[in-house]
Symmetry: C2
Subunit: 305 residues, 2 copies
């Protein structure tokens, strides 16, 4: 057990450098994962959104979790890329006029504003199916049964039991600021938490984690996932459009239920802090090896966009 | 080698009874594969289209191909269901207003006309991701490496290299009846042929087919896939709306390139017949065991809807 504040190694762990280095290898792997092809238009549309930047938190979490339990970056990289493909697909489809009708994402035009609605729908479908193909065809040095578990986990995370289910409840709750905290948590754990949890758990599965390790890592991921979304809600109020790279104040304008609205701003911050603390504690049995995942949790708590 | 017209077993093979029996077990498996859940609306939408009937040719081909090479129905059933989920997803998304804008499918309202565009997009996404989850989580008694090959094959079949790519070129060719035969074949082999090929090849992979068997089965499937689409084009001209269960004469009204338009009706029929003959010949090395797949090819040639 490592008490983080008393551990000198923590002081020497440079999270910013770590994130920058990891982001660089993920960007390179993503670029290589999806080369241009024919018909050019659909590859351009897929690459436009997949390579649009972002923090790459999901792949970084997957790689870190795989390493934590003794695996290598190489074992997890195809899945790490696939997780970003899935995340990108969900953003493209959520932004569509029939859904959230967003014009900007990460400071750029959304996929359908750039390529048209038909191509945007197909780019999402293409990324989703390629994610599964990519894991199945390119994962090396991993027990094939573990790869199948990862694929099953990711399918569960995207479908009606995950992202899709969360988006359905989110759409049904539109213009209804009076939904319960329970419904709000359902939306967040399904729309955001489920995929973050899948990142951590799939990395651990690929790295050969034992059954009992998976439960703790899953709790870690649940906590950071919910905290991530609470902080998203907070930033929508406190950050500027420039900082966010997307329309700020949108939740208030849309009269949307959010944590700050249901709990107040201070109580929301306190809840996020509590969740992050819980996440950090789940990783403490790993000692120094857990420092990257602990630092990632704190990064989520302190992020500005 | 079996000469089909000289083989008495052929005379006793009742294709209609075979198709009816297979359709019944597939319908039951599909119904069980996707039980209702929460949020109810998305499960209703997914089940509405997945259980809307149809010939279930794709799952039946997958099961038959698995049996042909020595496998069992049980080994192939999760993949057979997944293939129908993928087919259903592609129909739901292709019918959307931003794509082909169809109001009816199989004699029923299309998914977005019944549930709204947002839910229809999500129902497609849910079916696509569940297809991969279902194969990975429920396939039994098969080498996990073969299951991974099936998943990679299906991902390739859906993405920009398959269905999605075909739909992109199809949309780009709209209102252009003067596209080349080459472009028309690209659209058909990607939109229809690729998935039919995947049905046959995945069944064979699950059943433990040898490498050299896969090539012949792939050619069989390519032929029936292209023939299937040529006959679709022919039926659009010659069949009534009642027979088709969808709008007839739509290709002509949309000024769409079709085989009858490019080759003439008689030459199109001749090309379809030639493709089916080639398909039947690919299966002849299997003798009597190949009768179901040969009869399925002939069924495609003679279908009325």
């Amino acid at each position: 057990m490592t008490n983080q504040s008393a551990c000198p190694q923590n002081l020497t762990f440079d999270l910013e450098a770590y994130l920058q280095a990891r982001k660089a290898i993920v960007e390179k792997a993503l670029d290589q994962s999806l080369a241009m092809g024919e018909p050019a238009k659909i590859y351009e549309a897929m690459r436009y959104s997949l390579l649009a930047g972002g923090k790459r938190l999901r792949p970084i979490l997957c790689l870190a979790s795989c390493e934590l339990v003794g695996g290598t970056i190489e074992m997890a990289m195809p899945t790490a890329c696939a997780l970003e493909m899935i995340h990108t697909m969900s953003l493209i489809h959520d932004d569509l006029p029939a859904m959230d009708n967003d014009d900007y994402r990460r400071g750029k035009l959304t996929n359908h504003k750039k390529f048209g609605e038909d191509i945007a729908i197909l780019a999402g479908d293409g990324l989703l199916s390629y994610a599964f193909e990519y894991i199945a065809a390119y994962t090396r040095e991993v027990d094939p049964n573990a790869v199948l578990k990862v694929i099953a986990k990711l399918g569960h995370t995207v479908g009606a039991t995950g992202l899709v289910g969360g988006q359905v409840v989110d759409l049904a709750s539109e213009n209804n600021p009076d939904i319960s905290l329970e419904t709000l948590e359902y939306i967040h754990t399904h729309k955001t938490g489920a995929l973050l949890e899948a990142c951590v758990v799939s990395g651990a599965l690929l790295g050969g984690a034992k059954e009992e390790e998976l439960a703790g890592l899953s709790r870690y991921a649940y906590n950071i996932g919910l905290a991530f979304q609470i902080i998203d809600d907070i930033l929508d109020i406190t950050a500027t459009q420039e900082e966010l790279g997307k329309t700020a104040g949108k939740d208030v304008a849309a009269d949307k239920a959010t944590y700050p609205r249901l709990l107040g701003l201070e109580a929301s911050k306190a809840k996020a802090d509590e969740l992050i603390e819980g996440a950090v504690a789940e990783i403490s049995p790993y000692g120094d090896a857990g420092i990257p995942l602990q630092a990632l949790a704190q990064f989520i708590a302190n992020r500005k966009n």
